[in-house]
Symmetry: C3
Subunit: 162 residues, 3 copies
């Protein structure tokens, strides 16, 4: 009797599982809003900040004396991790994500700092690393003059689920 092959298992899925186990349980937002809202098979996330272990890890304007482009990129990656933590908490598992649809990245920017796309690549690259082709998203990256608690980056996502 022929054995049924195991379901297709991509390297991405292993990477995703390993990554998922590192995700913190997110704190609930303070206020009248929630981290994730679903409509049909589309999820909208709230703007996430570069928080780690309950502490805002990256503050200040990117491109200023104290916040390099590289730190900005780390901040954007951390925002993406927090968005994914919120999505994991909502969905149960990140394998329910079918596609990353859209990213909007707001970069707290020093005057004459114009590398917002390079900053938000910190988030975009992580998503493609984790989800492969399904992680490729539409994106806007803009520079703003102020973010909550002086965070260096704020990031929101729209994703499709199975």
């Amino acid at each position: 009797m022929a054995t049924t092959p195991p379901p297709a298992h991509t390297p991405n899925q292993d990477k995703l599982k390993a990554f998922e186990s590192t995700l913190p349980t997110p704190a609930q937002p303070i206020g009248s809003y929630v981290p994730v809202v679903q409509v049909g098979n589309v999820l909208f996330t709230s703007g996430a900040l570069p928080v780690k272990d309950g502490k805002l890890e990256h503050t200040g304007a990117v491109g200023s004396y104290s916040v390099s482009l590289e730190k900005g990129r780390e901040a954007a990656r951390l925002c993406a991790i927090n968005c994914l933590g919120n999505l994991r908490a909502y969905l149960g598992g990140l394998d329910r994500i079918k596609r990353i649809i859209k990213l909007t990245g707001f970069v707290n920017s020093a005057p004459v700092f114009y590398e917002q796309p390079a900053v938000i690549n910190g988030a975009s690259d992580l998503l493609v690393e984790l989800f492969g082709e399904q992680g490729r998203h539409a994106r806007s990256a803009v520079g703003v003059s102020a973010l909550p608690m002086n965070a260096s980056v704020e990031l929101e996502m729209i994703v499709e689920v199975h």
Copy 2:
């Protein structure tokens, strides 16, 4: 013969009806855009400003000498009222709203003002007051350097309808 009970009537619905009767009829936007566009059962609103009786009520950067956090919060609440006025005009009645999906709040921010979330709570709290659990939304709050007509806040919504 058994009588059919009246449809469930929540306190929120009373509050919503009372609120609805206070909403102004919105002016049409000047230009090639419209206040609300529907796709499937999802509505996207245009960015609303803190206008009252046809006059921009809150101008200037929140956190500056002349615009306190509390005034910013009032501005955000007024933006939400104007969004809801546009939705009411489009839908006929706010009871057709099933869920507030997403809020994006742009706060005209003075340098070193980092309390954008507290400002946008003026909108978020109103929505939960009116719609209860269905009013809880995903949200981004960001600080910007300039808004149309020097408005203190601009707010847009995505909502789901029945």
Copy 3:
């Protein structure tokens, strides 16, 4: 035997075809993102910049000495053209667009420049010119302190397809 009339052909469709032939083939974005993502019958575009022939055509803050409102409007129009170029490349033809749902326009703004709506009209007017009533969209226009490569405007769209 009765002949079947040709399909309805509106002046907009002629204008659209003529416009389409002028659209450049867009360059792929540099990074892990893509110009357009589809979910159901809705397309989200990445933020487009006022690029022409591979060169950023409009830089600097609108309302500053070197960038007039009129130049800002041209920049917004060019952003819209680039969004539409991306949509054309994705869809094959712009006649597959059923409705322009939403525009978000970020205007690199000089201090005390508050005419972001007049700037973004450069994009909105083009869309209505091309798509007629189906081109009327919801819209937010905000002022920001910095955009990628010091672009004067960044614009993103949400559209519905047939």
